[in-house]
C-alpha cells in the first residue's frame, strides 16, 4: 500500500512563554483522509499547539509544513493567521468565538471572505460581478448551514443559538474558507450525548464527503475512540504517545496521565 | 423620524413667529459674543453693557422716537457658530450689530454682515487685519488694534527701559501670537535690541519652569508676553519662584484685576499696555456705577468698550436719521460721540480715533498708568 499523502507535518514544535515551555518539541502528521485526534489532560498544551499551527502564536522552535496536494510545500512558521487560513487550514475555537451580533448566515459568509475578492470600489459600484459574487457567497454559506443542520436559523443572531448549535456554526464557518485541513478545538465540549452523536456523524461526513482531513482536540474519549485514527497524546507540553485507538488505550503512559488527572479532579 | 421632523418644524415655526412677530417699529441692535463656555467672561460684560445702554436710551424716548430692541446671540467665540449667529441676526433684521468678541469669530461673521449691509462694531476684536486689510468696510471697533499695543510695548521696552535682549513669548492663541509677532517685528525693525527667544507656551500646563530657565539661559533683560492673564500669572509666579528678575511686559489681555489677584506679589512691577486710563472720563464713572447698582459687582473685561460701542452705534443711527447703511456708516465716520472710552469717531478703516493705549505698571496691587 502506498504511503498516504501528508498534508500537515509538524516537526519538533516548541513554544515558550517567558520561562514556561508550553509545548515541547512535539511532532505530528496529518495525512489525507484522516481524522487525527490530539488528546491529553487540561493544560497539556494542546490549544497552544493549535495556536502555533494557525499562526496566532509564533513558535519558538520547530517547523510547521503544509503540503497541499499538487502545490509546493509551505512553511507556516510566523505567518499571520489569515495567511494560514488562505492556504487551506481552518479552525474552530475552544471558547466559542462567533460574531455574536451578526446573523448565523453572516457568520458563515465571513468565512467566504478569503475566497472572494470584491474590493471597496467595486462594492460601491455594485457591478454585476459583485452582485454575482454576493449571491454565490450566500448560496455556498446556505448550503453549509444546511450541512450542519442550521439552515432554519439562518437569520437568527448567532448569540441567540443554543450552545451545541453554536459549535456547529463554528464548524460551518470554518468550512466556508474551503480548507483541506480542519482543526477542531474541543468540538463536543458542553454537548449532551445526543448532540455528541450528531457531531460524530457530522465530522465523519465532512471527512468522507468533502474530503477534508481533520485534526481535533477532544476530551470526550468515546467520540475520539469512535472516529479518529491516529491519536496523539500530550502531557505537560510533550507528546507522550501516538497510535491507533487500541494502541493508545493500552499505553501505560497514557493511562497514568489520565489517572493522574482523575485524582486531580 | 417623520414625527420628530414634524415636531422640529413646529418648534421652528413657533420660534420664528415668536421672534419675528413683534418686528413692527423698533431699532434692532444685535449683540453677539460668547455668553456660554469658557470664554464667556469676555462676552458677558459687553452684553450687559448693551442692556444698560438700551435700557437707559429707551427710558428717555429711544432712538429716532423708536424703542431699541436687543437681539442677543451667543457665538461661543467659535467661527462656525459665529456664522450661524450672524445669519440669525441678519435674518431677524438687526440694523446694527455690537460684536463679535473674539477676532476669529468676528472674521468669520463679517462676510455675512457685509453682504447684508449691516454695520458691525466690536468692543474687543483687536486683530489688525480686520481694519487694515480693507476687506470689511462695515467693521468698526472701540478698541485699538494689536499692532498699536505691540508697538507701544516695544517702544517702552527699548526706549524707556533701555533693554537690549528681549524674549518674546505667546500663548499660541490668535490674540497672543499676533501681539508677539508684531512685537518681534518691531524689535527687529528698531535695530536697537534683539529677540533672543521667540516661543509659544502651552496654556494650561502645570508650570513654565523650563521656559523661565531658558529666559535666564539666554540672558534676556525683558520678557514680552502676548496672551491672557492666567498664563501671565503663572509666568510671573514661576519667574519669582526661580528668582529671575527681568522686566515683564505684556498686553491688554493681562491687564485684568485677576492678574494682580492671582499672581499677588509676583505681579508687582510688571508692565502692560492697555487702553488709556478712563477714570477721568465722567461717562465712564456713570457707566460703572450703573453696572454696580444693577449687578452688584465690578464690570468685567470690555465693559467700557462695549458700552461705548452701543452708544456709538445708536448715536450714529440717531445722527443719520435712519438705519440706512450708508448714512449710518457716514455718521460713524464724521460725528463725534461721547463714550466711556472718550469722545470718539471712526476713521475710514473703522478704527476709533481718540482711543489709544498707555503703559501701566503694577504697583501695590493696582495698575498705575505711566505717563
Amino acid at each position: 500500500m502506498a504511503e498516504k499523502h501528508k498534508l500537515l507535518e509538524v516537526k519538533g514544535l516548541t513554544m515558550d512563554f517567558g520561562g514556561l515551555r508550553a509545548v515541547d518539541s512535539v511532532s505530528l502528521d496529518v495525512c489525507e483522509g484522516e481524522i487525527a485526534a490530539l488528546i491529553g489532560p487540561n493544560g497539556a498544551g494542546k490549544t497552544t499547539f493549535f495556536n502555533c499551527v494557525t499562526g496566532i502564536y509564533t513558535p519558538t522552535k520547530g517547523d510547521i509544513l503544509l503540503h497541499p496536494k499538487g502545490l509546493d510545500t509551505r512553511r507556516l512558521n510566523g505567518l499571520k493567521p489569515n495567511r494560514v487560513t488562505e492556504m487551506g487550514l481552518a479552525r474552530t475555537f475552544q471558547n466559542i468565538r462567533l460574531f455574536a451580533d451578526m446573523t448565523v448566515l453572516e457568520n458563515v459568509m465571513i468565512g467566504r471572505h478569503c475566497r472572494t475578492k470584491s474590493g471597496i470600489f467595486r462594492s460601491i459600484l455594485r457591478s454585476k460581478g459583485v452582485r454575482q459574487e454576493e449571491q454565490e457567497i450566500v448560496e455556498v454559506s446556505y448550503q453549509l448551514l444546511k450541512k450542519v443542520g442550521l439552515a432554519d436559523f439562518a437569520n437568527e443572531f448567532a448569540k441567540n443559538l443554543p450552545y451545541g448549535a453554536q459549535r456547529r456554526l463554528e464548524i460551518a464557518r470554518a468550512m466556508a474558507t474551503d480548507p483541506f485541513l480542519l482543526l477542531l478545538d474541543e468540538p463536543a465540549a458542553g454537548m449532551n450525548p445526543q448532540e455528541t452523536a450528531e457531531l460524530d456523524q457530522l465530522i465523519c461526513k465532512i471527512s468522507e464527503q468533502d474530503r477534508i482531513a481533520i485534526l481535533l482536540i477532544e476530551h470526550d474519549m468515546k467520540l475520539v475512540m469512535n472516529i479518529s485514527n491516529p491519536i496523539y497524546v500530550m502531557e505537560y507540553g510533550k507528546k507522550i504517545a501516538e497510535g491507533s485507538p487500541q494502541q493508545i488505550k493500552d499505553n501505560p503512559k497514557v493511562i497514568e496521565a489520565y489517572l493522574g488527572e482523575e485524582t486531580d479532579a | 423620524m417623520k414625527r420628530i421632523h414634524a415636531l422640529l418644524t413646529a418648534v421652528t415655526l413657533v420660534l420664528g413667529v415668536a421672534t419675528g412677530g413683534f418686528a413692527a417699529d423698533t431699532i434692532k441692535l444685535g449683540v453677539a459674543g460668547p455668553h456660554s463656555g469658557d470664554l464667556a467672561p469676555y462676552g458677558i460684560p459687553a452684553m450687559k453693557a448693551a442692556q444698560l445702554v438700551v435700557k437707559k436710551i429707551n427710558a428717555t424716548g429711544g432712538v429716532l422716537g423708536k424703542q431699541v430692541e436687543l437681539l442677543i446671540q451667543d457665538d461661543q467665540c467659535k467661527p462656525e457658530i459665529a456664522t450661524n449667529t450672524a445669519t440669525k441676526l441678519v435674518t431677524e433684521g438687526a440694523d446694527v450689530v455690537l460684536g463679535h468678541i473674539c477676532s476669529g469669530a468676528t472674521k468669520a461673521a463679517l462676510g455675512i454682515y457685509k453682504d447684508a449691509k449691516v454695520p458691525v462694531m466690536s468692543p474687543s476684536a483687536t486683530n489688525p487685519p480686520l481694519t487694515q486689510s480693507g476687506d470689511y468696510p462695515n467693521f468698526f471697533r472701540t478698541i485699538a488694534s494689536d499692532d498699536m499695543q505691540a508697538k507701544m510695548a516695544v517702544d517702552f521696552a527699548i526706549n524707556t527701559l533701555g533693554v537690549k535682549k528681549i524674549a518674546v513669548l505667546h500663548d499660541k492663541g490668535d490674540y497672543g501670537k499676533g501681539f508677539a509677532e508684531f512685537a518681534k517685528k518691531f524689535i527687529e525693525e528698531s535695530g536697537k535690541a534683539e529677540v533672543v527667544l521667540f516661543e509659544g507656551i502651552t496654556p494650561g500646563a502645570i508650570n513654565y519652569d523650563s521656559i523661565v530657565g531658558k529666559i535666564r539661559r539666554d540672558k534676556a533683560e525683558a520678557l514680552v508676553f502676548g496672551g491672557y492673564h492666567p498664563e501671565a500669572s503663572k509666568l510671573v509666579s514661576s519667574m519669582k519662584r526661580k528668582r529671575l528678575k527681568v522686566a515683564f511686559i505684556s498686553d491688554d489681555g493681562v491687564k485684568d484685576d485677576s492678574f494682580v489677584k492671582v499672581a499677588g506679589v509676583a505681579a508687582e512691577g510688571a508692565y502692560m499696555t492697555g487702553p488709556r486710563d478712563l477714570s477721568s472720563i465722567p461717562l465712564n464713572a456713570t457707566a460703572t456705577s450703573e453696572f454696580k447698582t444693577e449687578y452688584g459687582t465690578d464690570p468685567g473685561a470690555f465693559f467700557q468698550e462695549g458700552y461705548s460701542a452701543a452708544l456709538a452705534l445708536l448715536n450714529a443711527i440717531e445722527q443719520a436719521g435712519s438705519t440706512d447703511y450708508d448714512a449710518v456708516v457716514k455718521a460713524l465716520q464724521t460725528k463725534y460721540v461721547e463714550t466711556p472710552v472718550g469722545t470718539i469717531k471712526f476713521d475710514d478703516r473703522g478704527d476709533a480715533e481718540g482711543v489709544g493705549f498707555s503703559v501701566y505698571q503694577v504697583e501695590n496691587g493696582n495698575f498705575k498708568e505711566l505717563k
Partner: protein, 403 residues
C-alpha cells in the same frame, strides 16, 4: 416604604455632595463669600424625585433584559424599520422634506440645517470606523481639519475652486488616515482611543505653530464660497446653494456607506468589531481591513471639511478641538452605532436641539453630558439600533417550493 427611605438617603447624600460647590460661592479675587442655601433645597428635592425615576428606569431595564433573553422582542419602531418597503418610503418622504425645507424656511434656518447636515456626514464617516469596525477614534476631527485646510490653503495660494478641491480634500484626508493608521492600528481598542486623541491634539498644535504653512491661530479668512458657473450670489443664494450641495453630499454618503455596509468589506468590518481573533482566523487581513475602515472614515471627514471651509469662509485651529471629536462620537453613539438612520437622527438631535434651545444655552453642555451617560445606561444601542440585512437565498425558496 423602602424606596422612600432610600430616596431620603440619596437626597441627603447629594446635599452633602453638592454642598461646597452649590451652596457656597467664594470669590477669592474680591474676597466675597456668598451662601446660597436655597440651592440646597433644590438639590434635596430634585435628587429625591430623580432617585425614584432612576430606580424605576433601572428596574425597567432589567425587566427588558430578561424578556430579551427569553425571546426576541423588538420595539414597534424597530419592526417597522426592518420592513424594507417602509424604509424606502420613509427615506423618500425625508428627502422630499429636505428638498422643500429651504423654500419654507429662512436663511438662518438653512444655515443651521447645513451645520446639522455637516455633522450628519461626519457622523456617518465616523460610523464606519467606530460603528462598523469598532475602532474608537477620538481624534476624528483632525481629518475634518485636513479637508478644511486643504481647501482653505489651495484656494488661498492657487485660487482653486470648491468643486476641484472637494474630492482632493477627501483623498488627502484619506491618505493622512492611511499614514497615521499604519503604525497605530495594531494597537488594541483603548490604546487606539488614546493615541488618536493624542494625534488630534498634535494636529491642533501643529496648526497653531506652523504659521508659515497654516497661518497659525489667526486662521485663514476670505475663503471662496462654492461657485456656480461664476454667478455672483448674495448670502441667501449661496446659503441655499450650499444647502443643496450638502443634501446631495448626505445622500451620496448614505448611498455609499449603505452599500459598503452590506458588502463583503462591510461584513469584514463588523466581524472585526465583534471578534478580532476569530476574524483573522477566518482569513481576513486585519491590518488591511482596519486601515480601509479608518481611511474611508477619514475620507468623508475630509470631504465635508472642504464644504465646512467653504461655508464659514473662515477657519482657524479653534474649530478642531477634542470637543468636536467628542460631539461627533456622541452623535454616532446616541444615534445607534452602525445604524445609518440612527446617526442621522443623532446628528439632528444633538446639533439642532441646542440651536433651537438657545434660551437654555448655558445648560446645554450639562444636558449633553448627562444625556450621553443616560443613553449608555438605558438605551446603549442608541435611538435606532442597527438593522441587520436579511439575505435572500434561492436554496430556501426551492426547499419550501418542494415541500
Amino acid at each position: 416604604m423602602q424606596g422612600f427611605k432610600q430616596s431620603i438617603l440619596v437626597s441627603i447624600w447629594f446635599v452633602f455632595l453638592t454642598f461646597p460647590l452649590m451652596a457656597v460661592r467664594v470669590n477669592t479675587a474680591d474676597r466675597i463669600v456668598e451662601w446660597r442655601w436655597m440651592n440646597m433645597l433644590w438639590v434635596a428635592v430634585a435628587s429625591f424625585v430623580l432617585s425614584y425615576a432612576w430606580r424605576y428606569m433601572l428596574a425597567r431595564k432589567q425587566a427588558r433584559n430578561k424578556s430579551e433573553e427569553s425571546g426576541q422582542q423588538q420595539g414597534r419602531v424597530q419592526v417597522l424599520l426592518e420592513d424594507m418597503g417602509f424604509r424606502y418610503r420613509a427615506m423618500g418622504v425625508l428627502l422630499v422634506l429636505a428638498l422643500i425645507f429651504p423654500l419654507v424656511f429662512d436663511t438662518y434656518q438653512n444655515t443651521i440645517m447645513i451645520s446639522a447636515l455637516i455633522y450628519v456626514v461626519l457622523g456617518l464617516g465616523l460610523n464606519i470606523s467606530v460603528g462598523l469596525a469598532g475602532l474608537l477614534d477620538l481624534g476624528y476631527v483632525a481629518f475634518f481639519g485636513v479637508g478644511a485646510y486643504s481647501y482653505a490653503l489651495l484656494n488661498h495660494h492657487f485660487d482653486l475652486g470648491f468643486w476641484a478641491i472637494l474630492p482632493v480634500g477627501g483623498i488627502l484626508s484619506c491618505l493622512f488616515g492611511v499614514v497615521l493608521g499604519f503604525p497605530i492600528l495594531r494597537l488594541r481598542g483603548d490604546y487606539l482611543a488614546i493615541v488618536t486623541l493624542g494625534f488630534g491634539m498634535i494636529f491642533k498644535v501643529v496648526l497653531e505653530n506652523w504659521s508659515d504653512f497654516t497661518f497659525g491661530p489667526s486662521g485663514i479668512a476670505n475663503i471662496d464660497k462654492p461657485g456656480l458657473f461664476g454667478i455672483d450670489m448674495n448670502i441667501d443664494g449661496s446659503t441655499l446653494y450650499i444647502y443643496y450641495i450638502m443634501i446631495a453630499l448626505v445622500v451620496f454618503t448614505i448611498l455609499i456607506t449603505n452599500r459598503l455596509r452590506n458588502s463583503r468589506i462591510g461584513r469584514a468590518w463588523i466581524a472585526l468589531r465583534e471578534d478580532e481573533i476569530a476574524c483573522v482566523a477566518m482569513g481576513i487581513d486585519m491590518a488591511r481591513t482596519k486601515l480601509s475602515a479608518y481611511a474611508l472614515g477619514a475620507f468623508w471627514a475630509g470631504m465635508v471639511g472642504v464644504l465646512f471651509a467653504a461655508k464659514t469662509t473662515f477657519i482657524n485651529p479653534a474649530s478642531f478641538t477634542f470637543m468636536e471629536s467628542a460631539i461627533i462620537l456622541s452623535i454616532v453613539v446616541l444615534g445607534g452605532m452602525g445604524s445609518i438612520l440612527g446617526v442621522i437622527l443623532g446628528a439632528f438631535i444633538l446639533i439642532l436641539l441646542p440651536e433651537y434651545m438657545r434660551a437654555f444655552s448655558e445648560y446645554r453642555m450639562l444636558a449633553f453630558g448627562a444625556a450621553m451617560v443616560l443613553m449608555m445606561i438605558f438605551r446603549p444601542q442608541g435611538i435606532i439600533s442597527n438593522i441587520r440585512t436579511k439575505y435572500e437565498y434561492k436554496g430556501l425558496r426551492e426547499e419550501t417550493d418542494n415541500g
